[in-house]
């Protein structure tokens, strides 16, 4: 351990370090109580499936899908905003940020690692919610199959055909596409939140800003149409344009409403939407790094 020896080699960017931070973040988030949200999700689904028994089973499946996908979208967004907003302030508060950055870790690796950790948590949460949803759907579907078998006893071919259609209706591969678009939206929100939290003075402030962006991001398409229809004044158009440029258009990731009722997503369209999501994430991470690199800790 002679001081005359040259310093050990250091890699400017190390995926191993990013991975370590991402895993650490993921562990932190999963060991926290965020997953109580899943419990809430399960209760919501079970509660609503009780509420839906008055409808025909086709309608029940339809509404169960709508509610599950809607809840996944909302819960995922909430999780993305709240968990991300708390992260940087906590690391500063607990001074773990000092300990991490006092190691040879470039700040960009910290930003990236944190984001990947959150994205991993969102993927887990959405996956589990999806699993729960499919499980409930499965149980209900088997119940309906049994009823069918009871009422249609005898004609085996007709029964098989009916069950075939039922299954095709209920378990459509499109549901995977729905999950992916929800994941893309939550990732965009998480990256945006991470960016805001690099300059926000408090967690509340971050949540406030991102929630505002969330609503503006969902409404701007509507507002734009509205203004265009009004043939509005030049300034209001300019303002709408400015809003459209500054805020993300989140409606573009909202394909679940139609996917739930069976509108097919062409693969190319899904691909483009996901690429757009990745692009947003990249830009917000870049912006976050720009600010965070100079942040006084």
């Amino acid at each position: 351990m002679s001081t005359a020896a040259p310093l050990p080699a250091h890699r400017l960017f190390s995926p191993a370090r990013v991975g370590a931070i991402a895993r650490n973040t993921l562990t932190e988030l999963t060991r926290q109580k965020v997953f109580y949200l899943l419990l809430l999700f399960g209760l919501l689904l079970i509660g609503s499936s009780v509420l839906l028994v008055r409808f025909s089973f086709q309608d029940q499946f339809q509404m169960l899908k709508d509610i599950s996908l809607g809840a996944m979208s909302i819960f995922g967004s909430l999780l993305a905003i709240l968990a991300t907003a708390a992260m940087l302030p906590r690391d500063i508060e607990e001074r773990t940020l000092y300990t991490i950055l006092a190691k040879p870790v470039p700040r960009v690796e910290y930003v990236l690692g944190k984001f990947l950790g959150i994205a991993g948590m969102l993927a887990c949460a959405l996956f589990l919610m999806g699993l729960l949803f499919l499980l409930i759907l499965f149980v209900r579907e088997r119940g309906v199959e049994a009823e069918m078998a009871a009422s249609l006893s005898g004609d085996a071919a007709a029964l098989a055909a009916q069950i075939e259609t039922l299954r095709a209706q209920v378990f459509h591969p499109n549901l995977l596409a729905a999950g992916l678009t929800i994941f893309a939206k939550t990732c965009v929100l998480a990256a945006l939140t991470l960016f805001v939290s690099t300059f926000a003075t408090s967690q509340i402030f971050t949540v406030f800003i991102v929630t505002t962006a969330y609503f503006i991001g969902h409404f701007q398409a509507t507002a734009r149409e509205y203004w265009q229809a009004m043939g509005g004044a030049a300034w209001s158009k300019a303002f709408a344009g400015f809003v459209a440029i500054l805020f993300p258009d989140l409606q573009i990731f909202n394909l679940v409403d139609e996917i739930a009722v069976g509108v097919a997503v062409p693969l190319a369209l899904l691909g483009k939407t996901l690429v757009l999501g990745g692009f947003y994430v990249l830009i917000y991470l870049l912006a976050a790094q720009l600010v965070f690199a100079q942040k006084e800790l």
Binding site: L51, L52, R54, F55, Q58, D59, Q62, M63, D66, I67, L69, G70, A71, S73, I74, S77, K185, F195, F199, Y214, F215, H218, F219, A221, T222, Y226, A244, I245, L246, D249, L250, Q251, I252, N254, L255, V256, D257, E258, A260, V261, G262, V263, A264, V265, P266, L269, K272, T273, L276, F279, I283, L286, A287, A288, L290, V291, A293, Q294, K295, E296
Partner: protein, 252 residues
């Protein structure tokens, strides 16, 4: 750090200018593929109230539509027909791609509300009853027509429209057209074509065409030789006084 923040915002604005055309194109493509189908105007906000409007726009459009349907179910139990219609109007404009909403709405209007109006003791005169019934039937047809506009490839809606025209409006020609259009769509049930022909057979002056269509069905094979088909063919053979070589019932 303030300088960096301004730099970051400048970056976002710059990127915004670049992405906007791409996003507009993508959104148009999504619309063309059937997404973002709701017409969300300001009237919807008045209908849904602030909370519902926010929820509907931020990723829960389908859920809000479903909640409206659930509420409609209660309105039905309380026999509030006006409210029922209002709820389905709102739900269907929120989620025009949902087949089940159009189905439910047209069924409630065309079969429950119209029947209730027909039997409404408040109306003294038969003419009044008929008018009230007719209003609900029109509403039902309106739902189906808007549903067809939103889901032009859905044979089920044509079937419902045909049945409504046949049974409630007593208009076999309109029924035949609706069934017939539905029959041409992919995934259509086989009986639509038959129903279309049966209805056409009831239209005075269209017997020749109707017979030709029934004959075409008959020629498909014995699985099509259903009692109604045979009965209608026999009736038309008689009515048109066809020569024996064009008849399937050659006995008389």
């Amino acid at each position: 750090m303030l300088r960096r923040l301004l730099l970051a915002l400048a970056l976002l604005l710059l990127v915004g200018v670049v992405r906007l055309p791409f996003e507009t194109a993508l959104q148009a493509e999504q619309r063309a593929a059937g997404f973002h189908a709701a017409r969300v105007g300001l009237d919807l906000r008045q209908r849904l109230g602030q909370t519902g409007f926010l929820a509907a726009l931020s990723g829960c459009r389908a859920v809000v539509a479903d909640l409206l349907c659930i509420e409609a179910y209660s309105a039905w139990e309380r026999v509030e027909w006006g409210r029922l219609n209002w709820l389905f109007e709102t739900a269907s404009s929120l989620q025009p791609r949902a087949l089940f909403i159009w189905e439910m709405a047209s069924w409630h209007m065309g079969y429950n509300a119209s029947r209730a109006a027909r039997e409404d003791p408040r109306w003294k005169l038969e003419a009044q009853r008929r008018r009230a019934e007719r209003q609900y039937l029109e509403l039902s047809r309106g739902f189906l027509q808007r549903g067809i506009a939103a889901l032009p490839n859905e044979p089920k809606l044509y079937e419902l429209l045909g049945t409504l025209e046949r049974d409630k409006f007593n208009d076999p020609l309109a029924a035949s057209v609706a069934y017939g259009t539905g029959a041409t769509l992919p995934g259509a049930k086989g009986y639509l074509r038959r129903f279309s022909a049966y209805c056409l057979a009831q239209v005075p002056g269209r017997e020749v065409e109707a017979h030709a269509r029934l004959r075409a069905l008959y020629d498909l094979g014995p699985q099509e030789h259903l009692p109604t088909l045979l009965k209608e063919m026999r009736r038309l053979e008689e009515k048109l006084a066809l020569p024996p070589e064009q008849r399937i019932y050659k006995d008389r």
